[in-house]
């Protein structure tokens, strides 16, 4: 069963609009939004939530003011600058607390509590294109790779239970913790970029990351007609980097119009851009299937079958 993810490095290149269209094309995928920090896919897919669960990850340190002797050892040992000493007494800033437990361990008065940290919620939902696994971190919460790993595990379970042949995920921007977590065990990564210096720069970094984890990739240049020269450069770069150039999609106001109406662009209009998207999707499935059946054993281990 292939697992396909759409990522980009740079934000705002069109990952989510494309993932939504792919979900429409796929028809029988388990859909997964792995941008747990600023998820948007639900705005188009309008999921009906069936299961809602709290997400706890790690702990946070809290000083009990009555027990604190104001010795200052916690402030001295904290590497994250999370302990402040306002006139009212020592206090830990939850936004800076890393949850490392060092202050809890060494406080001579035993005055620091270490409760579980409630970081967000995750959901299993039903959409018009199939089941969907998604989440929402609380604002300012730790951007947990653990939540991404949890969603992927739930998606696999759901795929097996419901006999679905594919997992399609929308990834987060960047190349840090949530993106790394979303790549382990993935069969194919669609890299969405735009013909701008930022798009190109970030494409190269996210492609490097995929190479690092031995994930095969293909590239889609979105809004390609904004700068045809840069688009050609990216195509040449793909040849040299041995990644497949999947498509050059034109800038099309239909993408935003569809979004406003909560539709995928392929539902909004069947021609033009949608034809190109359909063609790319067919190729992506071929490449994902090829990878999933050929070399599973040599790749990164999956956390669950």
């Amino acid at each position: 069963m292939p697992e396909i993810i759409v990522i980009s490095g740079k934000g705002g290149t069109g990952k989510t609009s494309l993932t939504a269209a792919f979900a429409h094309m796929a028809g029988d995928a388990v859909i997964c939004d792995l941008d747990v920090d600023a998820p948007d896919l639900h705005l188009i897919l309008q999921p009906e939530i069936k299961v809602r669960e709290d997400f706890y990850s790690g702990h946070e340190a809290v000083i009990d003011a009555r027990a604190c002797t104001a010795c200052g050892l916690c402030a001295e040992m904290c590497r994250f600058g999370a302990v402040s000493n306002p006139p009212a007494g020592y206090r830990i800033d939850p936004l800076k607390c890393e949850g490392c437990k060092v202050c809890v361990q060494f406080c001579p008065a035993g005055a620091i509590q270490f409760p579980d940290r409630h970081c967000g919620e995750w959901f299993i939902s039903e959409t018009r294109f199939g089941p969907m696994v998604h989440a929402q971190l609380f604002p300012g919460a730790e951007n947990s790779g653990r939540l991404v790993a949890l969603l992927r595990q739930k998606a696999r379970e759901l795929a097996q239970e419901s006999g679905r042949s594919l997992i399609l995920s929308d990834g987060a921007p960047g190349i840090g913790c949530p993106v790394i977590s979303s790549l382990s065990g993935t069969d194919f990564a669609v890299l969405v970029t735009e013909p701008t210096p930022s798009g190109r720069h970030d494409l190269e970094r996210v492609a490097d990351l995929c190479r690092h984890f031995k994930i095969p990739t293909g590239v889609i240049v979105n809004k390609a007609d904004l700068n045809p020269e840069n688009t050609q450069d990216i195509q040449r770069w793909c040849d040299a980097a041995r990644t497949e150039f999947l498509a050059a999609l034109p800038y099309d106001p239909a993408v935003t119009e569809a979004m406003v109406q909560r539709l995928t662009v392929t539902e909004f209009s069947a021609d033009g851009l949608s034809m190109d998207i359909r063609r790319s999707w067919r190729r992506i499935v071929e490449l994902g299937n090829h990878k999933a059946t050929s070399s599973k054993a040599t790749d990164m281990p999956k956390s669950s079958a």
Partner: protein, 295 residues
């Protein structure tokens, strides 16, 4: 004044706004790229880089000959970065958050400080007048906040910290990297676009940053696209919209060529000069309100 240019959604124009603001700024200023996962500001400001440093984080190095396998380190570590299996001590430096707990707790002094490379801090000058700082995360490194702290520490050592203003280009999102980038600021400028995605993530960003108690203001990019939800929300939250940049294909094309909008298009220079003025005005008003509230 330290201004952080942030957004919930990526690709709304943070870097465009940060670059153009720095370009028109009429006082000494440093432009700082804290989107260390995907730094882009240098692609537009094209600075002369005069210094580079590798940033590292402390991780434990084990001397197993001293280890008695008491497990104190493994029991304390919250990140599964060190474990004891029977009489084998294993460290996983990639998992380490650098808290120093294992070194402090080991009764045998079997652990000593080593280092893991986070990435690079680089600095220089753009257009002969704009101080420039950036971080670039090593590909494969998961944690960006420690590298961001290294960039901030570098600025603190430079004359820019005391002599001028600072404009921070923040990473997208609303979680720990984004919070870390706006923490040093006096004022947060949220860049959004009036689409359903832009609006949704704008609300998330507003909710994430509001507890910090810093004045916030909005810039609406690609105005005319989508709908009016963002404008309505700003009005209801008393969040001033300092400028609206119209949706215009010429702007997108200038951006695609790596141009600073305020440099490439005369009318954009005016837009950003006015934005600079209204930013300072808003900072001043917010400051006076704060003083009045404390009086």
């Amino acid at each position: 004044m330290i201004v952080a240019v942030a957004s919930g959604k990526g690709g709304t124009g943070k870097t465009t706004v940060a670059a153009s603001l720095a370009w028109v700024w009429d006082r000494p200023v440093a432009a700082v790229d804290l989107d260390v996962e995907e730094p882009n500001l240098h692609l537009f400001l094209k600075p002369d880089i005069i210094g580079r440093e590798t940033a590292v984080m402390e991780v434990p190095v084990a001397d197993e000959s001293k280890c008695t396998y008491c497990r104190a380190c493994a029991d304390l570590c919250q990140f599964k970065a060190i474990s004891v299996l029977g009489s084998v001590l294993l460290t996983f430096p990639e998992m380490c958050h650098g808290c120093g707990g294992c070194l402090a707790v080991c009764p045998e002094k079997a652990l000593s400080p080593g280092s893991r490379e986070l990435g690079e801090v680089a600095w220089g000058t753009a257009a002969g007048r704009i101080g420039f700082f950036m971080g670039r995360l090593r590909v494969g490194e998961a944690m960006s906040p420690p590298l961001m702290r290294a960039v901030i520490a570098k600025i603190a050592q430079s004359p820019h910290a005391t002599a001028g203003d600072v404009i921070i280009d923040a990473p997208p999102g609303t979680s720990c990297p984004a919070i870390n980038a706006v923490l040093p600021s006096d004022l947060i400028l949220l860049v959004t676009e009036p689409t359903p995605f832009g609006f949704h993530d704008f609300q998330l960003a507003h909710a994430a940053f509001a507890p910090l108690g810093k004045p916030m203001a909005a810039v609406i990019n690609r105005a005319g696209l989508g709908d009016h939800s963002v404008q309505d929300f700003c009005r209801s939250q008393q969040l001033p919209i300092l400028t609206e940049i119209p949706f215009d294909r010429r702007l997108a094309e200038a951006y695609s060529k790596g141009q600073v909008l305020a440099d490439a298009l005369p009318n954009m220079r005016t837009v950003f000069e006015e934005l600079m003025g209204s930013l300072r005005g808003w900072a001043e008003t917010s400051w006076q309100r704060k003083v009045a509230a404390h009086a």
